[in-house]
Symmetry: C2
Subunit: 481 residues, 2 copies
């Protein structure tokens, strides 16, 4: 799967613009930023994800003979441009915030510094990949947060928006903190745990529920989670499960990981009744897992109601991010290299909608942490040539309400540049960590947020400020148009 | 892309159940149905899509050496079962409602008749594919309906949930009636029109908007749609576009397909003002296109407000089906072959939630049309061995409110069996039509619905009834559990 060539997976206008730049003899180096304007799902943060697949995509960029023939058949591309495409490869620089990092609106998740023809082509696929995985990683982190330490299993493949949404959605869900996925291909590709037991069809394929449970327990005694709702959860399902657990115990089979799964009905009520029945039968370490249209709100509510579920399978609502199924990453031109002045000229896109105005220039992001707590104070977007010292006071201010100022005293804060080099002159200089490593990094990243930023309702906003120099340039550009 | 091997793209439990059937020496032939319980997006219907990819998936089913090694590494599969997987292929029958057909809740979109081990493995991938494409085809058909004959272009690749969601989402959107997609790879793979012009970055890469427009018009004079909102739509964008159109006219360049694109702001107001400005300048045949977070409701509202837009680019909300991003297709065991009785024994899944009770047996679907109008009266699910004659009266009744009866007089209606054979004994016996052919078929299919079923608010329900025989069997099974 890693060698899939997605070169033509781009919007047609990227190619018509490329031909335009080609015909205009314009292949200046430019800066493009990928950023987003609002956190998904009403969240106070997002989680960056998808970089490994973007690297694969760029490394596999190549117009095949078949691709060139197809483009020729469209009747809008000239021979000289098609000849150029035949030798196309990415020769530019790419900087990215590593996967698993918590991120905020209006800061570049990825910065491309490349000839405009190359930078233009790769817009659509990069947005597609980062928008999808960042969305699902963010959603998953919320579901995991709601479960307060219980394990969340990703079970959404059958309702994902196509194969990749299932495969890379599982990857992103693992980054966001899930303990495993039902998706075997994702398990194979990303070396993450795969989970699952049986479906209603298993039960129905036997003459009766008890026989089906016995057969399953015989086969999988060390991971014996029985689905109890095929016919009647409390009247037959749980009693039959208890009977089988008792038979295992009587036969001297060690009950290591065993229990029941609820997949319908009132989970609060059913789990409490099932817990009582299991406990009374002497199976107090039996797990109760559940999987029924769950999301972060439902899990939090079930926790509040005292549901005795400790293992959660989450499908549709996580794999599609149902309440917010898109992540609004955009790709905007921020600067153009001036070969005479030997510097980047900042560019801005104006808009009647002030939140749609872009941040100009070749920028970096300094993440500011409070030394005492290790928590994030905010992010400071600055120009690449600005320097800051942790041993000096730092004044930050809201870019819209500039009178809202905060003074950080010298030596009370630390700074970390969060955009790292990924491609330099077309060569990949970055080694993606494994998904498990990204997951662990993400767990630590989430701990740099205050709980107030993680809560679901009205989360505390983390400020993303502009340096004074960048703020001035932005306002000058806005005034000059 | 057609030869992608997705064999491991299955839920782990399919494999653990398969091993269970293997160990139990149970590989009886079974009937599984894929059906859904509610139309997406509050629609009165859905459109079946994805069959071609399901065929590809089944034809490419093969556990590679690498796959077997991975499964062995999980430590839950025995050597004899892994050996069986090595030779695995699909040997069963598959029946499906052809792509582009309008469909309704509770009827089998796909019916599998196969040994249970095979039928179980393919559940997840088939659901993934059909759930995704049927969702987007349905959503697209709604957007197309709202546009009242204007062309809808699919522009969603960058916000789709991963590459496949963009690629196969574009395919489904074309089936639902879009006139083209921005996705070049989808254009190549499915031989459908690709569309697009330029982005804001094109404008910003030039010293000024007018120069950018002139450069674009010089390059693409025969498809010259200029994006007018980079700086100020009415103050600079539209006047500059008019100036360029005038220069083209003055230079004797034929203005064939030309106009403007609005991508932000109040589309009703801006389009009316732009129309007036274009008309006054003598460009009354200039197209006004728009693309800004559109969906079927917004397009209908803009139409109501007298917006002068006649070409629509629809992205995020269609490619993700934003208001309803999943299609609830499920896969349920309906019957098991009894080798002694030489017949299928119907099976049922009970549920406290009456809408979740399944329809048992080996079934077929007779679609009933009124001869006079060609419109659908309803669908009748019956057992495979039942026969019906159009020359006899037909009494149909609501399966829940059985006193709601309708008598169709002989010779006033026609019947059509809508499930067609796709695989027989593992061999594909079906040739998928091209996407363009499916689109045309779908257009005719939608015309078999009354407008009342197509409206967005409270659509008229098309009834899916059960034959008297099937209804009796279902009730007997419910009583016997």
């Amino acid at each position: 799967m890693k060698t899939r060539n997605l070169t033509l997976m781009t919007d047609l206008y990227e190619l018509t613009m490329m031909q335009g730049y080609f015909k205009e003899n314009n292949n200046e180096t430019v800066v493009f930023d990928i950023f987003y304007r609002n956190n998904p799902c009403g969240s106070g943060y997002a989680i960056a994800a998808g970089l490994e697949q973007i690297i694969d995509y760029i490394q596999n960029l190549q117009f095949t003979y078949h691709d060139i023939s197809y483009l020729r058949s469209l009747g809008i591309f000239d021979t000289d441009f098609l000849e150029y495409l035949r030798g196309f490869h990415f020769s530019g620089n790419l900087y990215a915030i590593p996967e698993g990092t918590v991120v905020f609106p209006n800061e570049p998740l990825i910065k491309i510094v490349a000839p405009i023809m190359e930078a233009q082509l790769i817009e659509t696929a990069m947005l597609n990949i980062i928008n999808h995985q960042s969305l699902i990683a963010t959603k998953a982190s919320r579901v995991v947060w709601a479960a307060e330490g219980d394990g969340i299993m990703e079970f959404g493949l059958r309702r994902a928006q196509g194969p990749d949404a299932g495969i890379y959605g599982a990857r992103a869900a693992m980054i966001g903190g899930c303990i495993g996925t039902s998706n075997v291909l994702a398990g194979q590709m990303f070396d993450v745990p795969v989970k699952g037991t049986h479906a209603h069809s298993w039960i129905m394929s036997f003459p009766d529920e008890l026989t089906a449970f016995r057969a399953y327990a015989k086969l999988y005694p060390t991971a014996c989670i029985l689905l109890v709702d095929t016919y009647d959860t409390l009247r037959t399902g749980v009693p039959h499960a208890i009977q089988v657990f008792q038979e295992m115990r009587d036969a001297g089979i060690p009950l290591t990981f065993y229990g029941i799964r609820l997949d319908s009905g009132d989970l609060a009520y059913l789990s409490k009744q099932a817990r009582r029945m299991l406990d009374e039968a002497g199976f107090s370490d039996a797990v109760i897992s559940a999987s029924c249209d769950l999301d972060e709100y439902l899990i939090a509510s079930l926790k509040d109601q005292g549901a005795t579920i400790t293992s959660w399978g989450v499908g549709t609502n996580m794999i599609t991010s149902k309440d917010c199924p898109s992540f609004g990453g955009v790709y905007k031109l921020a600067a153009i290299w001036d070969d005479e002045k030997k510097e980047f000229i900042p560019k801005i896109k104006k808009s009647e909608n002030s939140e749609k105005i872009t941040n100009p220039g070749n920028k970096v992001i300094h993440r500011i942490y409070l030394k005492e707590t290790g928590k994030i104070v905010g992010d400071l977007i600055a120009l690449e040539d600005e320097t800051f010292s942790e041993s000096e006071d730092l004044m930050i201010f809201d870019p819209t309400y500039t009178w809202k100022k905060t003074l950080l005293a010298a030596d009370t804060y630390t700074l970390r540049e969060i955009l790292v080099p990924v491609f330099q002159d077309g060569i990949c200089v970055y080694q993606s960590p494994s998904v498990t490593e990204i997951q662990e990094y993400c767990r630590k990243e989430l701990n740099t947020l205050w709980d107030e930023t993680r809560r679901f309702i009205n989360p505390h906003k983390v400020y993303v400020d502009l340096s004074a120099k960048l703020h001035t340039i932005k306002n000058e550009l806005l005034g000059s148009i």
